[in-house]
Amino acid sequence: MALTDETDLVRTEEMLLNVGPQHPSTHGVFRMVVKISGETIIEAEPVIGYLHRGTEKLAENLQYSQCIPYTDRLDYVSAMLNNYSLVHAVEEAMGLEIPDRAEYIRVITMEMNRLASHLIFFGTYLLDLGAMTPFLYAFEEREKIIDMFNELCGARITYNYMRVGGVKFDTTPGWLEQVDAFVKRMKGEMVKYRQLVTGNEIFLARVHGVGAYTTEQALGHGMSGINLRCTGYNWDLRKKKPYSIYDRFDWDVPLGSAGDCWDRYILHMEEMEQSLRIVEQALQQIQPGPVMAKVPKLIRVPAGEYYSGIEGTRGELGFYIVSDGKDKPYRLKIRRPSFENLQILPIILKGVPVADMVAILGSIDPVMGEVDA
């Protein structure tokens, strides 16, 4: 071999690695092009768009009620919240008064859905880290929630349950009791998860101090939800800008401090307990009554621009409606929290080992349906 090739150093050569779109840990069809030197990531570039369906554009040709099934498919693990976010925006724009029972059912379903989504986070995150049993336990509980939703609105994932002015169905007989029983059971399960995972040294070593960022960075990237609260910044729209009937319940906003994977993990777990608290209180307070307000058959939003954001599972989920007074939005812009949260990846992935990549990506917890919309 001659002395020609200047780049031929004995140092580890850099290698371009495609993680995804067909990769078990990218939570869907997400792709990261990472440049690695040995096991260390030098540069990471997220590539998105594999699941793009043009929801926003489609919505311009759809009536508001027709938009609702499309929102199911944004963050497909917490469709209730997506439904609600849209109908809430429309209701606010129209200034509708929603019946109490409808609001209670909405809160119960939303928080249950949040729970289901966090259960998925819990299961898949541990699967990313190599433990498979928590995944099955978590999915079993999620299955119970989904079965209840199935009974309530006829679908397991894509609920299409909320309507402008209320909800599609009233609860089936005995459904609320089922929820109550589930809440009680779930509290025991939380203890089990804590024993199985939260105390495990290997798990702790994997997540402590990994993928940390500061509040400034998080705010600078427009992050929200748990990904923002893990840095210690108290920002929960349910408290800060109360919508629906969240001000009627007594619950706390769990906060992190270090902004690392551990904080994000534990916030998910604590938020599940808070959701259980809310559901419990809602079950006590709910009264019989109508579930739909009086709304015109053809919904028309007055001309103007409206924005309403709610605390989605992954952060601030907002619908921005530009209306020219017709029954279809002139423009519908969706603020998708997963998309915003993902933006920090290239920064926090720099310099971490490959093994931490999945730990970090998993803790950010993006849902590709939402990112790509």
Binding site: M1, D8, V10, R11
Partner: protein, 175 residues
């Protein structure tokens, strides 16, 4: 020398042929990785010879150190340097020719010497290990007779370790 065909003898010839074959294979393949692999054959074959000679501990040491450790180290070294390196085809330069002639000559001389010497014969039932198993006997010899060299071994190892670490570590200023 009268040849008696028997099991150990056959085993010896099979092993010897494989040792030499692996050695020659090493010199004849061109890819460095293959060379490093074929020398593994030499090491294992030599271990077989040791076993035939009753030196089972040395044989296992040979496998443990040579095949298990040194060859892997070489693999790593190959993969860290020019792992696609291939030898050029052999050319009859003056130097190579001299080396070849010299090696053959040396082999002939050595064989002649071996052939012309009368070697002692030993019983097959010779109890070399003094009633102990081979590793125990080796331990006794090593720690009684060769205690000082044994301590030096640790010195050699630590010097090797330190030297190699200093040499092999990537230095920051190069980055």
């Amino acid at each position: 020398m009268n040849f008696v065909w028997n099991g150990p003898m056959i085993a010896f010839y099979v092993l010897a042929l494989s040792v030499l074959g692996a050695g020659i294979l090493m010199l004849s393949v061109r890819k460095v990785v293959y060379m490093a692999l074929s020398i593994g054959g030499v090491f294992i074959g030599a271990a077989g010879i040791y076993i035939l000679l009753g030196a089972e501990f040395v044989a296992v040491a040979q496998i443990l150190i040579y095949v298990g450790a040194i060859t892997i180290l070489m693999m790593f070294a190959i993969m860290l340097t020019n792992h696609k390196a291939e030898e050029e085809p052999f050319r009859w330069t003056v130097r190579n020719a001299t080396a070849a002639v010299g090696s053959v000559l040396l082999a002939l001389v050595l064989l002649a010497v071996i052939r012309s010497t009368t070697w002692p014969v030993q019983s097959a039932n010779l109890n070399l290990n003094g009633g102990n198993s081979n590793p125990v006997a080796i331990g006794l010899v090593m720690f009684k007779q060769y205690a000082f060299p044994f301590e030096l071994v640790s010195l050699v190892l630590i010097v090797g370790l330190v030297g190699a670490v200093i040499l092999a570590q990537e230095r920051k200023e190069e980055e």
